[in-house]
């Protein structure tokens, strides 16, 4: 039997976005769910090309969403466990940053992750965060300072 083809992402996104948002709101509340929603579908996009067939996509994306929710809860909890940082050196930069940016205010966290994890320009970050370029730069630099302070203390 032939494997089910991976559908164009647009269809996949349209089919599952409501359920993903519902799950994230339940786990994280309205405000944090929005960032987590973006992160879920960006992670899905990142992995989508490597999918070999289009089966169980619902279970797959809900698993990603649950993982993002767990990461979000962990990073907003003040007593994050520092030994988790850097234990796997093969993790991509953006995942590495996910733990480093634990507990930063959402905007700063997003700016730091997009700048240093995804290597976006401030112009692109401004667009993604719906703010000005200056505000994006400001948020990233404040975020970095906050991380430095925390690491050195």
């Amino acid at each position: 039997m032939e494997a089910v083809a991976v559908p164009p992402f647009e269809r996949f996104y349209a089919e599952h976005r409501s359920e993903v948002l519902r799950l994230l709101r339940r786990k994280l509340g309205r405000e944090r769910a929005e960032d987590a929603f973006q992160e879920t579908f960006l992670r899905a996009l990142q992995a989508y090309r490597r999918l070999e067939h289009g089966e169980h996509l619902r279970a797959w994306v809900l698993t990603i969403a649950r993982n993002v929710a767990v990461d979000t809860v962990r990073r907003t909890r003040p007593q994050a466990e520092p030994e988790e940082i850097g234990t796997e050196d093969r993790r991509p930069a953006y995942e590495e940053l996910a733990s480093l940016t634990d507990g930063l205010p959402p905007k700063e966290r997003a700016a730091v992750v997009l700048r240093f994890g995804y290597d976006l320009s401030y112009e692109q970050i401004a667009t993604a965060l719906d703010s000005s370029e200056d505000a994006a730069r400001q948020a990233a630099s404040t975020g970095v300072r906050r991380i430095r302070r925390r690491i050195s203390s």
Partner: protein, 185 residues
Amino acid sequence: MTVSPDLDRRFREAAASLDLVDVGFDVVESPIGDLFVAVSDRGLAEISFDTRAEDQLELLARIAGPRVLRAPRAVDLARRELDEYFTGRRRSFDLTLDLRAMPEFTVSVLRELAHVPYGETTTYGELAARVGRPRAARAVGTVMNRNRIPIVLPCHRVVGSTGDLVGYGGGLDRKIALLELEGAR
């Protein structure tokens, strides 16, 4: 639970900014009706007068990869050049084109078609002669009919040997409108 238009927009923006899509598409307004426009990582891949994305997405996924997403930002450059064309400020397009998955004959005809100047017309037979297949006028007609990137690849400038407009994938009205815009009629 509905995803708010703002959240949806931000996700699509971020996906395009992060270069995470294989094909970004959007609907672009034009004086000859809305256009479905799709841009891949290699360039402009499709313009269609049929704006129901349904039929197009699978084809695009097969050509360029499965990450096909509506992402207005991805078609910004194409949108700008099309706007300039329709307002008479542009006579030729600078967009790179994605001609993947087309038969060799199709590609050679389309490359020749791209050289037909703004405001001028040629015939199916002439075009066939220019690709070295003088008797293949009918096959050239089929290529025009299936042209995946009309307007930019100007199949509207190709007419019958008697000067009849013959036909157009988007309907004769559109062919007439484009030729009038270019002052060729």
